[in-house]
């Protein structure tokens, strides 16, 4: 008992602890694979981040070396230029609009498709699922022409709205089973209490669907954040560039200054990585959950 009092976290299973240290072949192989895998992922990214602290002459002298001396100028120049922040702001704006539209409209549609009985319900659902098969790539050329007709080229909305449209299928496919699984008893009880169907949706179903809503938001946000093709077609004015597009164009513009490109690349990673650490469970859970239906 005194053991428990002193070390509650460890004491329940001392025998297991010891066993864990006797590594089987499989576990050893697993550790080797794990370390190799982590290395393959981390080293390239780390290389870019560290090389951003070198100068281009240093880089030309030898591709792989520690900075000598460490130079902050590359990072400082980018952070003090307007471009980086403007790209960041544009990306944020587009991603927020796209996510907001996809989730609000997607949740409404998923509610109708899961909680109402009507004739063409499955037909509508199938229509949306067809969209799952076609990532934005296939439709971009005609989409570009259409946006030009609508005079939406070089407008952030011109990218955000189609991105929302292309995020709708995933959103609906994830939300519908989730909403469907919420017991009908809850809805009956709400009806008995005099709540209309829409009140039930707003006051009860949506709050209960919060985990799924977070998941679809994260998916829509990341998709928009990383998008390259549509912004590439739609934006000609640098002032509208989103981060991926800005990064690619920065490379074209400063092709001689390798160090600057590397610094710009590593700075572009930071928002995505921060967001990922924050939303990790949702992204992973959402993707695997989405796939399992």
């Amino acid at each position: 008992m005194s053991d428990v009092a002193f070390a509650p976290a460890i004491s329940p299973r001392p025998p297991q602890r010891r066993r864990r240290w006797r590594l089987s072949v499989g576990t050893t192989a697993a550790y080797v694979a794990a370390i190799a895998l982590a290395g393959v992922v981390i080293l390239p990214t780390l290389f870019v981040v560290i090389s951003g602290f070198r100068t281009t002459p240093q880089l030309n002298e030898s591709a792989v070396a520690l900075p000598d001396p460490w130079v902050l100028d590359n990072y400082r120049n980018i952070l003090s230029s307007d471009d980086f922040w403007r790209f960041l702001g544009n990306s944020l704006f587009v991603a927020l609009i796209a996510t907001g539209m996809a989730v609000v409209f997607g949740a409404m549609a998923a509610f109708a498709l899961s909680r109402y009985e009507f004739r063409f319900r499955e037909g509508f659902y199938t229509l949306f699922t067809v969209g799952l098969l076609f990532p934005i790539g296939v439709a971009t050329l005609p989409l570009y022409l259409m946006l030009r007709e609508l005079d939406m080229l070089d407008s952030l909305w011109g990218v955000a709205i189609p991105e929302a449209a292309f995020s709708l299928p995933v959103t609906i496919v994830i939300l519908r089973p989730f909403m469907r699984a919420i017991p009908t008893e809850l809805e009956d009880a709400a009806t008995v209490d005099g709540a209309s169907k829409l009140t039930f949706f707003w006051r009860i179903l949506l709050p209960l669907s919060a985990p799924a809503l977070v998941t679809v938001s994260v998916l829509a946000f990341v998709t928009s954040w990383n998008a390259y093709l549509l912004p590439f077609l739609v934006f000609t004015d640098v002032n509208n560039y989103t981060l991926p597009l800005g990064l690619a164009s920065f490379r074209g513009q400063y092709s001689e200054d390798t160090a600057a490109i590397l610094a710009f690349t590593s700075l572009s990673m930071i928002p995505a990585l921060l967001f990922f650490v924050f939303a990790q469970r949702r992204i992973v859970g959402g993707l695997t959950g989405a796939v399992k239906g």
């Binding site: 089973p177 490379r251 490109i261 990922f276």
Partner: protein
Amino acid sequence: MVSTSPDRVTDLPQALAGRAPARPARRRGVLRRRLELSFLIGPALLLFVGFVLVPIGVAVYYSLFDWNGFGPIDDFAGLRNYRTALTDDTFLESIQHNLVIVGLSLVLQLPLSLGIAFLLNRRLRGQTLLRLIVFIPYVLSEAVTALVWLALLQPNGAADQTLEALGLGGLTQLWLADRDIVLYTIFVVATWKYIGFGIILFLAGLAGIPKELREAAALDGASSWQTVRHVVLPLLGPTIRIWIFLSVIGSLQLFDLVWIMTEGGPANGSEMMATYLIDEGFRRYRFGYGSAVAVILFTICFIFALLYQRFALRRDMDGAVTGGSR
């Protein structure tokens, strides 16, 4: 927070009575329901039809014309654009390249990510951290991935120097400038970016397989390979089939990585259907022709999706697309 207090329960008979077929009230109910439904589905439907389905439909129309994107669309070409595309060496080669990527993914990426998932599917120290790390490339944009690897793969760059340091200096290549190598380089970079997704997916699938089943197989004297082959793999079937689906569709549409790294070059050595489409349609103002290419790409994906849905996914996907398995 749904109230079930006693005084509310007395409302129940009234509520039930309200459903009794009092005709005018019912008609009003029907109208109200229709309005509700239109309000709920309308915006999503409008958005989806307007920005997903219509552009695809319009592409079919444009594909029948020769059109540079400006002025009237009146130069009717019939199916000429399709004929041109399907006899154009570069385009045919780009289809081949996409198929090579599809094949390599199935033959290399699938076993690799399955194998790693099997290895990692046990209690390891730092497991959470590892899963986090493995997933990093998937979260980075393709633009970032492309620039990271452009830096690594420069002639005499980090990749070459690493090989030399390992005593494999003979293996260094012009990774992105050699027409015979570039496709495989692209595949390696794509693998780097996407393998984490497969691993996480398979780990989630493996976590869903009850331990008892493997133990029972082991008790019956099955070797670990037999257990994997006859117990685990079949149970992982749905996950594997979904992975294959996503991987094939993704490989057929590959664009961002290739465009930023090579623009399809050198000498079309890494040209993909999507890069060809943007190059011809958008860059050279051949919108009719580009649309035809888009329709072909679309059709290839669609046929694959339908067939795959019909023959492989039907059991798994709750009737999406083919419908009615429920």
